[in-house]
């Protein structure tokens, strides 16, 4: 907590408000008082844990300024990352405002708001408008934006730590720059959960300076690792072994949230939980792929206190208050300390009681990872992987939306854009590239009318070439890409909607295949008009266990902590089964160290195996597998396949690796990457996202929504065309940049090579090591179809022909 500097006087509360507080028996928290006292400053950032009265701290100055009823028009804009959160805050704000008898009009405006109300809001804005980044961007693209926002005093950005991690936040910051140009007196307020680097968030919100107010972090959380009689399995991510213990915990608490890292894991766990739920405890499931109606049902039951537990994913990460949660269980290693802390904060919304959380490792290695995460939480050592600043596809969309609201000067817009935190360092040339792209589509596309969207007026300012295109640009506002999802419905004309699955997963299904969705087993029947039709299945085991979902990679910092943990002389804090395993590894080989790269080579099952302990996170280890096997193929080692985890990549093939150095030559790796990338489906997918955000591809055209398949098709053609004729096209540059840090995560692989700088410790062993063994059980093996398989096949065919006495048999 920061003490109030002496020059800032404490601000008195208006009578209605202070009376109300007294009547409730409440007093202001110190950070709420600070926020109020400093409310005249141009920017403030509040860092506070869940339950610390963040919302009230943000709104109190607004209520104070509006208390006398003398203000007319829009005073405060509140932005939240979730529609549901905006609605939730509206309810939570209306109660005290009514209690205080304040003459304040509060409304929300999201994608769910009826058009009639939206029109009325434009004509006659409320005092406080609660909205989302996308709805704000849309509102600002209207010609009458200056009038709507005239006189706006304050903007409150809630959950800014979450927004700052995505393009949605970047879009919002551009919109705030625009707002500041319209209303020079606008004050900014950011509300954030506990983060590793508050100053970075402050710069993001207001690059020219921002006061940081810290709330008392509250008591340390009560966090433990689940004790089970049975040791966790060697591999896998289901944590089925822990079901009885988890049920036991649910019985002993009022309401438990059971977090999972992926939707697939949540589905499987929920299914298994119900099979074991002999007491029929009311337990629900909640994740982003479920149908909205289903999710709302669970949310309502939760608020009403009807559920004893909810199995959930990141969809419950953000701050909606779902009632009296007294325990959070995290299944599987949390992968990032920051996420874990925020999830733990979901338990116990009372500010000064400790949150209670239990970590459940899903396999033996995760025992170590959970312990490392647990120690990080206790030391409040949060991790943050910095994002590249100022994505240019978002800027392109912003330029187009600006043009929708009216003509603009390039110089003015550039100056305005660089006032936004994430774009503070944007070079003029980069801005001009984006402007040129918006105007002409870029070199290879400039011959096509369709992509010529801006033109210069005689006075040098820019405007839409065809004013009618504004409608299409507005329809495609936003940076959230849920493109490749298909709806799932029960078969029949009025079949119940169940949720969504990835298009790629749908393509892999054949009629009759069964899978899990919303906790039930369904049978795939047919794909009709972009809807997956299914029927109920009575089986107890789904045939296809998983569908994809975002798999988080273990953060750099947590990986480092794990490495340091491994290098302790002994592990008194680890359960015996795991400590024994590590001792055995030390005896047979050695444990990976932070400053060198351990590589083990050993024969197993008649094949040469090599295990590379890079600790670079799942995505980078996967990329390493792809690039290393390419190189090994060139070296004639006949690689046959590999599998990657967050810690290591295990490669198997015909010939043993003698010298690993060539695999880690950065120049060669980059060459391999270049060749592999250009024809890569992941690149095409990234391109589709970038091209959609930048407005090259439209998902919505006059009310018709293109299917993912149609969008894929046209974006693939564009990708191939640009790749061939205009490889330096702006959108390809952006795509490459994003692919390298996203799923391909070459950046971390490069860091790994730099970190170990040639210090490779290659051990040749005569058998598989304890640390490598669990990798053999991992799912997600990638097979390499190369010379290795051909050689095995040739040997086998020659043998068969010889046995049949057909040695020299030619073909007729």
């Amino acid at each position: 907590m920061t003490a109030l500097p002496p020059h800032i006087p404490e601000q008195p509360l208006p009578a209605q408000i202070s009376t109300w507080f007294t009547d409730q028996g409440w007093s202001l928290h110190p950070h709420q008082r600070d926020m109020l006292a400093r409310s005249a400053e141009p920017a403030q950032l509040l860092i506070a844990p869940t339950g610390a009265g963040k919302t009230m701290a943000g709104f109190l100055p607004t209520l104070t300024e509006l208390a006398d009823g003398g203000y007319d028009g829009l005073h405060t804009l509140y932005i939240s990352p979730l529609k549901a959160l905006a609605a939730d805050i509206k309810r939570n704000l209306e109660t005290p405002v009514a209690g205080m008898g304040l003459p304040i009009r509060i409304e929300d405006r999201t994608g769910d708001t009826p058009n009639s109300r939206k029109r009325r809001q434009r004509a006659d804005p409320p005092h406080i408008l609660l909205t989302t980044p996308e709805s704000l961007a849309l509102l600002m693209s209207y010609e009458d934006a200056p009038r709507i926002f005239q006189g706006l005093q304050r903007v409150i950005v809630d959950e800014i730590h979450a927004l700052a991690e995505s393009k949605r936040g970047d879009q919002l910051m551009l919109a705030l720059s625009r707002l500041t140009a319209l209303c020079p007196d606008l004050r900014r307020v950011g509300l954030s959960a506990t983060v590793d680097d508050p100053r970075a968030i402050a710069r993001y919100l207001a690059p020219t300076g921002c006061a940081i107010v810290r709330a008392d972090p509250g008591p340390a959380p009560d966090i433990t690792m689940l004790q089970t009689t049975e040791a966790p399995p060697w591999a896998g991510s289901g944590a089925a072994y822990a079901i009885p213990a988890v049920l036991e915990q649910v019985k002993h608490h009022k309401t438990t949230l059971i977090f999972h890292n992926t939707r697939a894991q949540a589905e499987i766990f929920f299914h298994n939980l119900w099979l074991a739920n002999d007491d029929a405890l009311p337990i629900g499931i909640h994740h982003g792929s479920l149908d909205r109606a289903q999710r709302e049902k669970v949310e309502a039951a939760m608020v009403a206190g009807d559920l004893r537990a909810v199995v959930c994913t990141g969809s419950l990460d953000l701050g909606i208050d779902w009632g009296d949660v007294d325990l959070v269980i995290q299944i599987g290693a949390p992968k990032a300390v920051k996420r874990l802390v925020q999830r733990i904060g979901r338990a116990n919304h009372r500010y000064n009681a400790p949150s209670k959380a239990i970590l459940v490792p899903a396999n033996r290695f995760e025992v170590i990872e959970c312990l490392a995460a647990l120690e990080a939480v206790q030391e409040n050592d949060l991790d943050g992987d910095p994002r590249p600043s100022g994505p240019r596809d978002v800027l392109c969309q912003h330029i187009l939306l600006c043009a929708c609201s009216g003509p603009f000067e390039a110089d003015t817009l550039y100056a305005e854009v660089t006032q936004a935190g994430p774009y503070a360092d944007l070079a003029r040339a980069a801005f001009d590239d984006c402007l040129t792209f918006c105007a002409t589509g870029g070199y290879a596309l400039r011959a096509y009318d369709k992509w010529q969207r801006l033109q210069q007026r005689p006075d040098g300012s820019w405007q839409l070439r065809d004013p009618r295109s504004a409608a299409v640009i507005r329809q495609n506002v936003g940076t959230i890409q849920d493109t490749d999802r298909l709806k799932v419905k029960m078969r029949g004309r009025h079949g119940t909607p169940l949720g969504e699955i990835e298009e790629g997963f749908a393509a892999s299904l054949s009629p009759g295949d069964t899978f899990l969705i919303g906790g039930q087993i369904v049978r795939y029947e047919i794909l009709r008009e972009m809807v997956v039709q299914v029927s109920r299945d009575k089986g107890r085991r789904p045939k296809v266990a998983t569908f994809m979902g975002s798999k988080f990679a273990t953060s750099t910092q947590l990986s480092q902590r794990i490495l340091h943990l491994l290098n302790q002389p002994d592990w008194p804090t680890l359960p015996a089964h795991t400590a024994d395993w590590l001792h055995l590894q030390r005896q047979m080989s050695e444990l990976p160290r932070p400053d060198t790269l351990l590589i083990e080579s050993f024969p197993h099952d008649g094949l040469a195996h090599t295990c590379i302990y890079g600790f670079a996170g799942r995505n980078a280890q996967q990329t390493l597998g792809l690039l290393a096997t390419r190189r090994m193929e060139e070296m004639g080692l006949g690689p046959l396949g590999f599998v990657a985890t967050d810690q290591a990549t295990l490669i198997w093939g015909l010939e043993a690796l003698r010298d690993p150095a060539p695999l880690f030559d950065l120049a060669t790796l980059e060459d391999g990457l270049e060749g592999w990338l250009s024809s890569n489906a992941l690149m095409k997918r990234s391109f589709r996202t970038v091209a959609t955000i930048a407005g090259l591809i439209q998902r919505n055209i006059q009310g018709q929504r293109k299917s993912g398949r149609q969008a894929t098709f046209s974006s693939d053609i564009l990708y191939d065309t640009l790749q061939r004729y205009d490889p330096d096209h702006l959108l390809l540059q952006i795509t490459r940049q994003e692919a390298l840090s996203g799923l391909i995560d070459f950046a971390r692989l490069r860091d790994l090579v730099a970190r170990v700088a040639g210090r490779i410790n290659h051990r040749h062993l005569d058998r598989i090591t304890p640390l490598a063994a669990p990798l053999l059980l991992e799912v997600g093996r990638v097979r390499i179809d190369g010379e290795g398989r051909e050689r095995l096949l040739r040997e086998e065919t020659a043998k068969l022909m010889a046995e049949a006495g057909l040695m020299d048999a030619g073909l007729a």
Partner: protein, 217 residues
């Protein structure tokens, strides 16, 4: 005639390339994990391989031995671009579509459409007729399995004996029937060979052929 490693059959004297079971328009299957390495469209992949074979053999005639199109999706699944591609391959070539059990009949696509094609001494048809001789057919998508150190590998294969050739499916990602299936064993002579497709064509004694069943008994 040459059984090519790609799964096509080449007859140099006639400058004729025969491919079977292309299954154009089968919905694209994007591989799940690590699928990055697979092309997103099977049709494009099949066409790329076909174009390569045509360029290498300089074949002037092409026979597509049935099931060239996957029934229901033929109209929707083939994109404008792929349609144009096929038309380009057809230019300057004699092109015969043999009818298969999947094909929806003659399509709005160039070339001759026939139920069967006699080209003495050989008969081209989609499904083998027991008892006939000098016959080239497809339909079954034969595959052979071999156990190796890297696990069991399976490859599409030609089945060849003195009476007939049963061709592998040329289309990408099509399923197949193992050649020890009774339907195939019944059609082929005991001394039949299976020729595996891949980098090079590799002959092996046909797995499951009748003689080896006798051996086991």
């Amino acid at each position: 005639m040459e059984a090519m490693p790609s799964g096509a059959l080449f007859w140099p004297e006639q400058s004729l390339l025969c491919v079977s079971d292309l299954h154009f328009g089968k919905s694209e299957r994007i591989a799940r994990l690590g699928g990055a390495m697979l092309p997103p469209y099977d049709t494009r992949d099949t066409l790329t391989r076909l174009e390569k074979d045509l360029t290498r053999t300089k074949a002037r005639s092409v026979i597509c031995l049935g099931d060239s199109f996957d029934d229901s999706i033929a109209a929707r699944g083939i994109s404008e671009q792929e349609f144009t591609w096929i038309t380009r391959l057809q230019a300057g070539r004699h092109w015969v579509w043999i009818e298969g059990n999947h094909d929806p009949g003659p399509l709005a696509m160039g070339g001759t459409h026939m139920a069967e094609l006699p080209l003495p001494p050989v008969q081209f048809r989609h499904i083998a007729v027991p008892g006939s001789a000098a016959e080239i057919s497809g339909h079954y998508h034969p595959k052979a399995q071999l156990k190796t150190k890297a696990g069991t590998l399976s490859r599409p294969c030609f089945l060849i004996d003195s009476d007939r050739v049963i061709m592998p499916a040329y289309g990408s990602y099509t399923g197949g029937l193992m050649c020890d299936d009774p339907a195939l064993v019944g059609l082929m002579r005991p001394e039949a060979l299976a020729v595996l497709t891949g980098d090079v064509a590799q002959p092996i004694p046909m797995p499951g052929r009748r003689s080896s069943i006798h051996d086991e008994i």
